[in-house]
């Protein structure tokens, strides 16, 4: 039975299968990269002249912070695709992103605080980058809360898509206002110090970790995407073969 509206969805059976085959590749590659990055970051990289070995927290803090922001971007663009071109696959991707994004925003905050403690003597300082990540966490919580508020999946998809897009437009505004607020109040800001021209043997592990985390996210996203596709495909006939 050919349902015309099916093609508009970006042929889920096709995407479901591709997601299945790609996941292990991403997973193994991510695992390998992370292990190599761990070894080179913790063992090979020289200690920082100022923070000593403490700076190595960077190798988990920076990738988590990057993931938190990048995932929101992926979520918002997928939501836009779902809302504007009415493609359910967009909503499925957006729904798959939110949980992981929120988790890694929390991780970036925790690792940021553990890094800040030896530096500033307290776990929390209103550093602009940490503050912006905290607000980002509330954006994720708002998104998850809104999505949970609807029983009907299609309404939940579209409402949360509007929020994701509005949130995404506001992220640069929030980041600018927090930086502006920080500059006029001279709150301590250490995060910048760790990033400038790092020697290659310090930088290489970071880049590997960033790529490893991104591939890890891709693997988790694809697994969740398959779940979200099944939830949205209701009684599509192709599901029968897949589930056999």
């Amino acid at each position: 039975m050919n349902w015309a509206w099916f093609h508009r969805l970006g042929s889920p059976p096709h995407i479901y299968r591709i997601a299945g085959t790609l996941t292990p590749w991403f997973a193994w590659l991510a695992g390998l990269l992370i292990i190599v990055a761990l070894y080179s970051g913790l063992v090979l990289a020289p200690p920082d002249y100022q923070q000593g070995d403490g700076f190595r927290i960077l190798y988990v803090h920076a990738p988590s912070a990057w993931l938190a922001v990048m995932i929101y971007g992926v979520m918002a663009s997928a939501a836009a695709i779902g809302l504007i071109w009415r493609m359910k696959i967009g909503h499925a991707v957006a729904a798959s992103c939110a949980g992981v994004g929120a988790w890694f925003t929390v991780v970036s905050l925790v690792t940021g605080m553990l890094w800040g403690k030896p530096m500033w003597g307290t776990y929390w300082v209103w550093d602009p980058r940490l503050t912006a990540q905290l607000i980002l966490l509330f954006l994720y919580l708002g998104y998850l809360g809104l999505r949970a508020g609807f029983d009907d999946l299609s309404r939940a998809d579209r409402a949360s898509a509007v929020l994701a897009i509005v949130g995404f437009i506001n992220i640069p505004v929030i980041r600018y206002s927090v930086e502006w607020w920080n500059s006029i109040h001279q709150a301590p800001s250490v995060m910048k110090m760790a990033r400038p021209s790092m020697p290659i043997d310090m930088l290489a592990p970071l880049l590997m970790m960033l790529l490893g985390f991104t591939l890890y996210f891709a693997a988790v996203l694809l697994v969740r995407l398959r779940a979200e596709i099944l939830r949205r495909e209701r009684t599509a006939s192709w599901i029968r073969e897949v589930l056999r």
């Binding site: 509330f138 309404r155 409402a159 949130g167 505004v173 929030i174 607020w181």
Partner: protein, 229 residues
């Protein structure tokens, strides 16, 4: 059969008039946000210190957080009553651009809450030891800031329309987005109190309001359509 069709501008004016007239029929609802703003401000001298010099230092934050929470309070009813009695649906199928009607409802909300809150702020500012000279700056910054709050709130109210107990969620969605308004607004008020020029933050507040005016009604319209399904 079809006489001369109402223009969008007339429809917007009609919606604005309707909401204002509705508010006059139930004045109690108008006073609640103002009372809430006063109570919140009153808590600080009691909870912190009666010393005017110290209160003056925290006055910007108190005024803006109070105004923010008070305007949040009034958002719940922005769409929920109209959705309940079926009139909001008529907006969607009226043939008039829903974005424009959402703009009208948000403008009515600002006139009924944002503006009164702004006009009341000087009285509370005096209670926090702020000199009269700072009043123009406070009025101006709050006037512009509350416009953005109403616009952001309209999006939040629209999104939580389809959610049963949407009240708390409405605040959770709207407050993070209102952070820039709070930062620039509080700074503008602080400069006003210090007697310095506040054009910098005022321009930023103005920019936020313009961003809000262009985007928020579009998002609110989309949100309301989904909420009414």
């Amino acid at each position: 059969m079809s006489a001369q069709r109402t223009s969008t501008m007339t429809a917007v004016w009609l919606v604005l008039q309707r909401d204002l007239r509705l508010a006059t029929r139930r004045p109690a609802q108008l006073i609640q946000p103002l009372a809430f703003f006063a109570v919140v401000t009153l808590l600080f001298p009691l909870g912190y210190t009666p010393e005017l010099s110290k209160l003056r230092a925290v006055a910007p934050g108190v005024l803006w957080v109070g105004a923010l929470l008070a305007s949040m309070l009034a958002l719940e009813s922005l769409f929920r009553e109209d959705a309940g009695d079926g009139t909001l649906e008529q907006f969607v199928v009226s043939g008039q651009p829903l974005v424009a009607l959402m703009g009208a409802k948000t403008a009515a909300h600002w006139l009924l809450t944002g503006l009164p809150l702004t006009l009341m702020a000087p009285v509370l500012a005096i209670a926090l030891g702020v000199s009269v000279a700072a009043m123009p700056g406070i009025l101006l910054s709050l006037a512009i800031g509350t416009v953005s709050l109403s616009l952001l709130g309209a999006v939040g109210a629209g999104l939580t329309l389809g959610v049963r107990r949407g009240g708390v969620l409405l605040a959770l969605l709207t407050l993070p987005l209102a952070v820039p308004v709070l930062i620039f607004g509080a700074k503008a008020t602080e400069l006003a109190i210090a007697g310095e020029s506040l054009t910098g933050p005022l321009y930023l507040l103005g920019a936020l309001a313009v961003l809000g005016v262009t985007l928020a009604p579009i998002a609110a319209a989309a949100a309301v359509r989904i909420g009414l399904e």
